[in-house]
């Protein structure tokens, strides 16, 4: 396998469009591992932007959930298509359980913060600022 240099952005857009254009020979849009990885990438980016831009604390939590779900899609896709096998499904189940635990603790922290400040605006949480 020859190593092609890392392509910069406009070239990659062209590659994505070339990969997913309608091809009558292929009878439609083909689905393989990279399709699932692109869905996971979209979820990850949406989650990161959600974490960065939301001022509501619960909105930040939803961003974390989106990021974890994007990682889960990658794990399950690799479990189905490569030699990773059942290990990917096991790890994605652990991720689901830990995400539920994290949501419970973070919501308890949000409730406690709301009881003290009467808001969950994360910009107001600056008592520990040096």
């Amino acid at each position: 396998m020859n190593h092609s240099p890392v392509k910069f952005f406009p070239v990659s857009v062209k590659a994505v469009l070339k990969k997913y254009r309608f091809d009558p020979q292929n009878r439609g849009l083909s689905v393989d591992l990279s399709s699932y990885l692109l869905v996971g990438a979209v979820l990850f980016v949406a989650g990161v932007v959600c974490m960065a831009t939301k001022r509501n604390g619960i909105g930040v939590l939803m961003g974390v959930e989106l990021v974890l779900n994007g990682a889960n899609i990658n794990f399950v896709a690799f479990a189905n298509y490569t030699k990773l096998g059942l290990d990917g499904q096991v790890i994605s189940l652990f991720v689901i359980v830990l995400a539920a635990a994290e949501a419970a603790v973070a919501l308890a922290i949000a409730l406690s913060f709301y009881n003290n400040h009467l808001t969950i605006d994360v910009d107001q949480a600056n008592q520990l600022q040096g």
Partner: protein
């Protein structure tokens, strides 16, 4: 277009659209609704990837549990009429640029790898979980085989790896992480109940 492709594109479009709607919506309750849509459609993607138990757990734990928790959090922490928590337009513009660049980086990374060659090199050219020998355990179904390979992996036994052709050694499972996760959940629930308890001041006269 086969049924698998059609279902994949429907579920992928709903998943990505729901995630983007979560980012673009400012109302927290509507964000929770779009998060339900996105997570439910990604459970459909898990079903398409032969991960039936993971998809079911996604529906039960995320859509049934975590989002109910989030909606309760929204209700218990209602913001007043004078505290609008909107994102400023400059921040949204900057976030859009960062999202565009990050998505381009990830997309170009995914598309620069020939995944079909990777799958063919590691996996004899076919999806691993679709292989017939993974669908049974150590004994035959008529001998009382009721264990799913995923559940046996959590109990520390790996028939999916041990029964593969050419395997000489036994593989280990995930019994210890499973136990750690269960104790972790107990600790987390006690800690969350402690953090969110109602704090009442003791009256000095009583």
């Amino acid at each position: 277009m086969t049924g698998h492709q059609l279902l994949f594109w429907v579920f992928a479009a709903v998943t990505c659209g729901g995630a983007i709607a979560v980012v673009l919506t400012q109302n927290v309750v509507r964000m929770a609704f779009w998060l339900i849509v996105s997570l439910g459609a990604s459970a459909g993607l898990f079903f398409l990837l032969n991960a039936d138990f993971v998809g079911t757990a996604q529906l039960l734990v995320y859509v049934g549990g975590t989002l109910v928790l989030l909606v309760f959090g929204v209700m218990l922490t209602a913001s007043g009429p004078f505290s609008k928590m909107q994102t400023r337009p400059g921040e949204l513009f900057l976030a859009g640029i960062v999202a565009f660049l990050l998505l381009g980086l990830l997309g170009s990374s995914v598309c620069s790898v020939n995944w079909n060659a990777v799958v063919a090199a590691t996996n004899h050219g076919q999806p691993l979980l679709a292989r017939q020998e993974l669908n049974h355990g150590y004994n035959k179904p008529e001998e009382g085989n009721t264990g799913h390979p995923l559940g046996m992996a959590f109990l520390g036994m790996r028939p999916d790896r041990d029964l593969a052709p050419g395997t000489k050694t036994l593989s280990t499972g995930y019994l210890l992480p499973f136990e750690i996760a269960s104790v972790h959940l107990l600790v987390v629930l006690i800690g969350a109940a402690y953090l969110a308890r109602a704090k009442r001041r003791v009256q000095p006269n009583e």
